[in-house]
């Protein structure tokens, strides 16, 4: 059973990845003839301001979204772990966004940002928000962050919640007898004990957000201008419609290296911190 799995995996995953790397050294447009061009694609990429802009947007988005999602999810998880009323119902509500299609939810948010929020802002007399933030090249990325946080908090909350449930309650009782306040209890008990979950959440969220695609397609389509063009979107557009097949596979190879470096770095740093705690 492992042999067919290996063959299929190689054929549909490794093989295209390898051919992708091979094409990145050519000038193929996706059709017609091609020649090897050496490192030309890579050299051009480093001079390409469109590619650079997409990296800046993607990183800005991924970092802010990862941090926001983790803070908010941890807060919600701690709330859900407390002795509260309507526990099951609340847990179910907070997980709901994760079961929904990002694209469709994105269209709904698109409408909220474009029509609903400006209406409200006008009624309340907040001039700064009377125009859609998605139409503003400096603010559109915030809309993407809001959608991403709304959609993915549910999953991270559940991961944190399962971490919190592994903590023995007598620890808190002992700590409060010793006079430790809420904040001390959090920094000295809760956080150290769930730090493996913190590592997983940070790495998973960052990796997923670096690949952002559906969110941008639904909200801004990369606009206004190219203000919110993510790396995935650029590779998709340039590769399929722009006749830059080989060039964008070179971009994808660089993207791969970047993601690999970041993941390894994150895991190393966060695990080291886990040990120190």
């Amino acid at each position: 059973m492992t042999i067919p799995a290996l063959v299929l995996f190689f054929a549909f995953h490794t093989l295209p990845a390898l051919t992708g790397i091979l094409y990145s050294f050519t000038d193929w447009k996706g059709y017609g003839t091609w020649d090897f061009v050496g490192l030309k694609n890579y050299i051009n990429l480093f001079k390409d301001s469109r590619a650079l802009d997409s990296y800046i947007f993607t990183f800005k988005f991924a970092i802010i979204a990862t941090i926001s999602v983790n803070i908010i999810s941890l807060l919600i998880a701690m709330g859900l772990n407390a002795k509260i009323k309507f526990k099951t119902a609340l847990r179910a509500i907070y997980f709901t966004p994760y079961i929904l299609s990002i694209l469709v939810v994105g269209y709904i948010f698109n409408y909220i940002f474009t029509f609903f929020l400006p209406d409200i802002a006008q009624a309340l007399g907040i001039n700064a928000l009377t125009k859609s933030i998605l139409g503003n090249p400096d603010l559109a990325w915030i809309g993407v962050v809001i959608l991403a946080v709304w959609q993915s908090c549910g999953f991270n909350t559940l991961l944190y919640l399962s971490g919190l449930q592994t903590i023995d309650h007598t620890l808190y009782e002992a700590a409060s007898i010793d006079g430790a306040g809420r904040w001390r209890q959090f920094t000295n008990i809760t956080f150290p004990l769930i730090s493996p979950f913190f590592t997983i959440n940070m790495v998973l969220a960052m990796k997923n957000f670096l690949m952002v695609f559906d969110h941008v397609m639904a909200l801004t389509n990369g606009g206004p201008g190219r203000a919110t063009e993510s790396i995935s979107l650029l590779i998709y557009r340039g590769g399929f419609a722009g006749g830059e097949f080989a060039y964008q596979t070179a971009n994808a190879v660089i993207y791969f290296i970047v993601i690999l470096v970041i993941s390894v770095f994150q895991i190393k740093v966060l695990q080291k911190r886990e040990v120190e705690l």
């Binding site: 492992t2 290996l6 299929l8 995996f9 549909f12 995953h13 093989l15 295209p16 990845a17 051919t19 992708g20 094409y23 919600i76 709330g79 002795k83 509260i84 009323k85 309507f86 099951t88 609340l90 847990r91 179910a92 509500i93 907070y94 997980f95 709901t96 079961i99 929904l100 299609s101 990002i102 694209l103 469709v104 269209y107 709904i108 409408y111 909220i112 029509f115 609903f116 709304w150 991961l159 919640l161 399962s162 592994t166 007598t170 009782e173 002992a174 979950f197 690949m211 559906d214 397609m217 790396i231 995935s232 590779i235 590769g239 399929f240 964008q248 596979t249 994808a252 993207y255 993941s263």
Partner: protein, 298 residues
């Protein structure tokens, strides 16, 4: 040391006593602050969904008057029009014909591969396989995206079957990771006893191991179906024929036709979200515990 234990015991006893005492007041140890904050927070989740349903039930005139207010006269015909326009049942069928086989075959095959690897990790070949599959987790999809489209259309697999194959194959890395973590925690003794009784590996897997994998199978089934049902990128690059398109892809394709009529568009969005929401309403507890179990073991 002993005195500390005694002290702990004493506080435990005390808290038990006090909880008995407070039983009379039943809810007095409820954290109302957290409850209220969470209730307010949940509005942030529910409000966009309320708004979406609200818009879907209105006429353009009603929408122009107020986005927020619930419509006095409900326009169900938005839904019937959306069903006709987007060929809803066709795309629903397409999504189902991709998701259901994907989930079933994923459960049957991925668990078996994971079992073979987990029980043979001392052998070089299986150790290599393990790292080979796990390493693929770090390869971003865009590097495969362009070549796989060429490969699939060359093989004549730019259809539902091809999509299903890709979901099963691409899920392998993550699923193996989760399965192996769980299989390692299962004791060897049952299998050893079965081997002595003369059972083949095939029998051992189906009769003993697979039933034991039930909780983690639930996790894998949930995560896989969410992914295959909601995914947009793979159908976008793979499917060119309109009659094969899945639900999310159809929403994308009809964007330009919707642009003038938001009510119709939202009716279509609600229809696209509805199957998952319905499943979730009935299987909510099971889904949540499935996802949480996976995260502890994996």
């Amino acid at each position: 040391m002993i005195s500390q234990e005694e002290a702990n015991l004493e506080t435990n006893l005390k808290s038990k006593e006090s909880s008995r005492f407070f039983k009379f007041f039943k809810d007095s140890d409820v954290n109302w602050g957290a409850t209220i904050l969470l209730l307010i927070g949940s509005l942030a989740i529910l409000f966009p969904l309320y708004l979406a349903i609200n818009v879907a039930l209105k006429s353009p005139q009603q929408l122009a008057q107020s986005i927020f207010a619930f419509p006095k006269k409900i326009h169900w015909e938005n839904f019937t029009k959306a069903i006709e326009l987007t060929h809803y049942f066709r795309s629903f069928k397409n999504s189902s014909l991709v998701t259901i086989p994907t989930v079933i075959i994923t459960l049957l095959t991925n668990s078996m591969v994971a079992y073979a690897i987990a029980r043979n990790l001392n052998k070089k070949f299986f150790k290599f396989l393990y790292y080979y599959f796990i390493a693929a987790l770090f390869i971003p999809f865009p590097i495969i995206m362009l070549p796989i489209v060429k490969e699939m259309s060359f093989l004549g697999l730019d259809n539902r079957l091809g999509l299903t194959i890709l979901y099963i194959v691409y899920g392998l890395s993550m699923n193996i990771f989760i399965y192996i973590g769980y299989i390692k925690s299962l004791p060897n003794s049952l299998e050893e006893a079965a081997i002595i009784d003369g059972a083949s590996t095939w029998q051992i897997f189906w009769k003993i191991i697979f039933p034991l994998l039930k909780p983690i199978n639930a996790t894998i089934a949930i995560l896989t179906s969410l992914w295959a049902w909601n995914d947009f990128m793979l159908p976008l690059i793979m499917l060119n024929e309109r009659k094969l398109m899945t639900l999310p892809l159809v929403q994308y394709v009809f964007q330009s036709q919707f642009s003038t009529n938001y009510n119709l568009a939202f009716a279509s969005y609600i229809l696209a979200l509805a199957p998952m929401i319905l499943v979730y309403i009935f299987a909510q507890k099971w889904i949540i515990s499935g996802v949480m179990k996976g995260s502890v073991k994996g």
